[in-house]
């Protein structure tokens, strides 16, 4: 029944619509921006009314917020956590640091370009983005989920070798020790 093209499309549309209204955010504050997640999620801004709520573990989560800079040590954990998450999964980059290194562009311990290590669906401008901007970013994420364009996870699988190579460049020992995509 699902096999013909049209009904597949209809099912996908309904799926995407449903997904966009129930986005569970992984509770992992990787950097500065995590401080604005608390107001975003609580009474004043209340992102839950849009369908965003916290999830304690990667298995339950749909979206990972990279809240700012990532140190080399964290990148490894983030990659691991990302790979533990189940598709469909999305990544949102917060602020300058994820785009081009931000304030820490010359720090030996923070990566500059997040999209070299993980597929990023939406970037939010700011250092750090305030809750209104965070919500705008999440709304944008919902929009692209609905449009079926939030396909970061597929991109990751397609270009796995390239991502792995980049990850290996900053963490030679660690990635070698770790089994790929098999957490």
């Amino acid at each position: 029944m699902y096999n013909d093209k049209n009904s597949k499309k209809i099912v996908e549309t309904i799926q995407n619509w449903a997904r966009s209204h129930s986005v569970w955010v992984l509770a992992y504050g990787t950097g500065c921006g995590a401080i604005e997640i608390a107001p975003t999620m609580t009474s004043r801004y209340d992102a839950e009314r849009l369908g965003f709520r916290g999830a304690a573990t990667p298995r339950q989560a749909d979206v990972m917020l990279i809240t700012g800079y990532l140190t080399v040590k964290t990148v490894k954990r983030v990659v691991r956590v990302y790979e533990q998450m189940q598709s469909p999964k999305y990544v949102v980059g917060f602020g300058s640091c994820t785009i081009n290194g931000g304030m820490y562009y010359d720090s030996y311990n923070t990566i500059n370009l997040l999209d070299r290590y993980l597929p990023v669906d939406v970037y939010i401008n700011g250092c750090m983005p305030r809750p209104e901007a965070v919500i705008a970013g999440l709304a944008k994420l919902q929009q692209i989920i609905r449009e079926g364009k939030a396909n970061g996870a597929e991109k990751y699988l397609e270009n796995l070798e390239w991502y792995k190579e980049n990850q290996r460049k900053i963490a030679p020992n660690w990635i070698a020790k770790a089994p790929d995509l098999n957490w």
């Binding site: 009474s43 209340d46 300058s96 785009i99 939406v122 970037y123 944008k140």
Partner: protein, 597 residues
Amino acid sequence: MSFFDLQGTLKPLTALKQFGKKPHTLKDIPWKKREASDNYRGLHFNDIDECIGCGNCSTICQNAAIDMIHLEGVEGKKGDSGLRPRVDNGRCCWCALCVEVCPTGSLSLTKDYIYVTEDPDAFLWTPGISNPDGEERKSYVSTHELSLNHFNRIPMPELEGKERIKSFAEVVLGYNEEQAREEASRCISCGICTEVCPDHMHIPEYINAIAAGDDKEAVKIIYDNNPLPEMCGKVCTRRCEDVCAIATRGDSVAIRWLKRYATETAATADITHEIVNPEIREANGKTVGIIGAGPSGLTAAYYLALRGYDVTIYEASAKAGGATMYGIPKYRLPIESLEKQIGYIQSIGVKIKFNTKVGKDISFKEIYDKYDSVFMGVGFPDAWPLGVDGDDAEGSMQAFRYLYMINSGEKVDIGDKVVVVGGGNVAIDAARVSRRFGAEVTILYRRRVEDMPADWEEIEGAEDEGIHIIPQGIPTKIHKDEKGHVKAIEYLKAEMVADDKGGRPRPVAIEGSETVLEATAVMAAIGQMGDYSFLPKEFEEKITIERGRFVVNEKQQTGDPKVFAGGDAVNRTADAISAIADGFRACKAIDEYLSGK
């Protein structure tokens, strides 16, 4: 505590009283933008027309977020680098330091803060282009008071007006070390000034060296393309200061005084030699003859000598320096200072033949034949006469000649009431010199005081010394007494009439407003002119003269490829720094010409 604590169980339940209250949730988000506060630090905005592209924002940015880029439709001009900032929002931290240091105040931050996209390459933000409507949403701005730029110049210590007129002691006392460091620290090192300097001196570099406490390095940098820097430090027309980035909202950096400070640390010719430590190339056997030891001739000579040429200067007067020696009063440029610099130039092997007037003591042809190349820096030795009735009276003279005579140590009888006609620096100089000889001095000028071409500092200095300025006065006649001596000067009052062609307003004499001013001497300071009688007829074809000046190409070369010219006799600006620039350019061209490159 018992197992069941009644109060501890019930009290928390009072939280239920919140039930049914209106929540404080901002429900409009994200459908409506929430207005940020009045000084919110959001996305950048830049007023493209006001910005001069100094790049100070780019320098202060600790995140290397700001690039200076070329924008379509923005062209560089004097006082504008033609570049505009572009912010990488993948670097910016919205600290707004770029706003705080912007000298023009064109850069600001706005209330906008939402920018969301899937494309990581779309975060390059050209303020003012990316948000043309940002003007209305400006929030974090830097006002004159809040700016981190220091808009007020360190005042230059000067002699009091009353003290000054007693002697020819230098009026400007110069910065001390602390003042110089502080003044140098105001500079933002943009380098916009270097473009308008005729000689393109390395201004940001030497000011930075002064700020860093490396005065000797500063002197060395200055001597890279100016062999008479102390003279420039005292009397330069300093067009650099007109375009100073700081001057857009405040006083320009005292570039001239800082140069003066740096060069004064080289107290003698020997010390100068030691500090500059010039690299003199081995003699290459080629010779260059230079006519006139003015700034252009000395400059060409100095740099040619450094390049290994055998240089000889022919000078008509007893001292070198040309107009800077004879045209500038000693309270502005002490003779020792100039002699020190010329002594240094001589010390590297430049030969100067004094009291040798070309055309009289030696013919131009002889020089032309003797040397591999010739440079003419002959200047404007003559001055225009006033050209009114009674101009031939005794005591009516040209201000330029007067200064020449005073500077050569001659005595000139000017009586006790002097009227100087003109509004340029020569007029002010003559007036202030006369004042030092005890005369009461009046300056008569055709236009308004603000139209005077003289430096405003000079005008102020003259007024401090008790010199009276009569603006809008057109001299018509000089009255003579029975001995043929000047008795008075008659002038018409003038009104300013706007020029139809868009030029500056013209003075038009008012009929019947004749006024007579008593005078014992009248000095005309209405311009100088050249004397080219030394040039034999046979050269006239090649070395052409147009409107009183030699015609040269961009390399200072005349129609005769062997002959170069510079200084007042060539350029229209007729100041020392232009002459130095001419000499420096000519040196490079002569080097090229003779080495056959």
